[in-house]
């Protein structure tokens, strides 16, 4: 009896915890949206300055690393597609292959994973250390709703900056692919880029962008909810940071797959 009960007990407990976590994140999302829409009326205005600061930290500061990774991934895709398509003598298809795979998948995915590692973890660490040192309580008793002050600006900034970064990563990756593939195809890089533009449909770009919006919500909610649930001092903050990154990346990849399946059915 006991041998069966114990794993069942553990399973039930884990399930309950997971459901509670999702519920908590959903509550944070609804509360942030409430303060964004109605905050002014209840004296909890979401400050533009706070949003701008978050946008700088999440978006602008990430530009160099997004550029670097985007470029590298583009280059890599160029190399791989040229090599594998050459087997069928179909090198010329590399343009469309790179264009579609970058805009539909890799741009959004690479950017989201990078931002999860940079900003999702930063959100968890910041909010986590704030709850440990009672700063979250202090905000509440000053009359500043912590969700309004800490979550809403980050959510807006993420929703704006992740798609922007994704577009940027798309562009850089395609340029990276062009630099390798154009010589291999005996065309100029600018001819390669023009051909890319003529082959891309708006739907390809939208597919990546719509995913990046979902990723933005995921990264923010996982970051802040793990941050708010920190307990156990500095060690807890470290654990929450790791957890935020791992959870975000898992969710991003799974959601990406589900999305792709539904869109391309």
């Amino acid at each position: 009896m006991n041998a069966l009960a114990r794993p069942l007990h553990a399973l039930g407990r884990t399930t309950l915890g997971a459901v509670a976590g999702v519920g908590y994140a959903a509550m944070l999302l609804l509360e942030s949206l409430y303060y964004l829409v109605a905050g002014r009326r209840v004296g909890q205005r979401v400050r533009l300055a706070a949003i701008a600061q978050q946008m700088r930290e999440i978006g602008v500061d990430a530009l160099p690393i997004v550029a670097l990774l985007g470029f590298t991934v583009g280059l890599m895709l160029g190399i791989q597609f040229i090599a594998s398509l050459a087997e069928f003598g179909a090198q010329s298809q590399v343009v469309v292959a790179v264009a579609k795979s970058v805009t539909r998948e890799f741009g959004a995915l690479i950017t989201a994973i990078l931002v999860a590692g940079r900003s999702g973890s930063a959100l968890a660490a910041r909010i986590g250390s704030m709850s440990v040192s009672q700063e979250v309580d202090a905000l509440a008793v000053i009359g500043i709703e912590p969700v309004r002050y800490l979550v809403a600006p980050a959510l807006v900034a993420m929703l704006v900056m992740l798609p922007v970064l994704t577009i940027f990563a798309n562009a850089v990756a395609i340029v990276g692919a062009a630099l390798y593939s154009a010589p291999a195809l005996n065309v100029t890089p600018s001819a390669y880029l023009l051909q890319t533009l003529s082959l891309l449909s708006p739907g390809d770009v939208w597919q990546g962008l719509s995913k990046s919006v979902v990723f933005a919500v995921l990264i923010t909610l996982i970051g802040v909810s793990t941050g708010f649930s920190v307990s156990g001092g500095a060690e807890g903050v470290g654990r929450a940071t790791t957890r935020a990154v791992v959870l975000s990346i898992c969710w991003i990849i799974v959601v990406d797959m589900v999305f792709s399946w539904f869109i391309n059915r």
Binding site: G43, S129, Q134, E135, D137, A138, L139, A140, I142, G143
Partner: protein
């Protein structure tokens, strides 16, 4: 004229952490103008009581009223109204580490008022002067000593000119001189600004020095609320244990003891 209405009115408050009850039917009343010290050992429930007074936790049973507003049932707007009229200095200061000392002190003004930046600057520097931190507004909280952090937190608590001030463990982690200075500061604030002050502490010396009245908490129950002299003279054994730093004798219930040892989820 009638006696002034109490600023804080707690009736039959119960609190739980999971399956453990930490407050048992606590009644607690504070009238305007007094300095009330909540005293008790570790685990007596004084921090939990404070969290309820601040509206950070909802009562499991009973009610907490500040300025006549029931915190458990108040609308968001009412709660905000209460919070603008109270100031809180947390045990560790709880200054926002991302903001300078000056910005920390100015934060409530920036969020709750439409004052222009120059006025806010002057008002926050005034409060820093009150706590003897004039000129420190540009430092970051991490650059301050423990006593300075507490005083900066006090300045932030005072910046909206609250009628009611809460002070959690003013002397914890401070050397005797600095904590004596903080006690003086608390007394001066009451006299100069006519504030009602609630102090949570386990430091006897500082409690006796600043208190008008003392509430002694023990294991989640109020043992006594009375003047300093009456508390000193109280013949309750637990109070005398606290006053004389005697280790308490925990009675052992054999059955409960065995249950705790053997039960899987005690």
């Amino acid at each position: 004229m009638d006696a002034p209405a109490p600023l804080i009115e707690v009736t039959r408050l119960d609190a739980w952490y999971g399956r453990r009850q930490v407050l048992f039917g606590v009644d607690f009343t504070v009238r305007p103008g007094e300095i009330r010290v909540i005293m008790g050992g570790s685990g007596s429930g004084k921090s939990t009581l404070l969290r309820h007074l601040l509206g950070l936790q909802r009562p499991a049973a009973g009610s907490v009223r500040l300025f006549g507003v029931d915190l458990g049932r108040a609308s968001e707007r009412e709660l905000l109204g209460v919070r603008r009229r109270i100031g809180v200095s947390f045990q560790g200061g709880a200054l926002l580490t991302s903001l300078s000392v000056g910005d920390n002190v100015a934060l409530p003004l920036r969020e709750h008022t439409d004052l222009d930046e120059a006025t806010i600057r002057i008002m926050s520097r005034l409060k820093l002067e009150v706590v003897n931190l004039g000129g420190f507004q540009d430092l970051m909280p991490s650059q301050l000593s423990g006593g300075m952090v507490k005083r900066a937190a006090l300045a932030r608590a005072l910046v909206m000119d609250p009628r009611l001030l809460f002070f959690d463990e003013p002397s914890a982690g401070l050397d005797p001189v600095v904590s004596a200075e903080l006690d003086e500061l608390i007394l001066r604030l009451r006299d100069a600004l006519r504030m009602t002050i609630v102090v949570v502490t386990h430091e006897l010396e500082s409690a006796f020095k600043i208190a008008d009245t003392i509430t002694v908490l023990d294991q989640g129950r109020v043992l006594l609320t009375d003047s300093v002299a009456a508390v000193r003279a109280a013949d309750n054994e637990r109070i005398q244990d606290l006053l004389n730093r005697r280790p308490r004798e925990v009675p052992v219930d054999a059955e409960a003891y065995l249950r705790r040892l053997t039960e899987e989820r005690a």
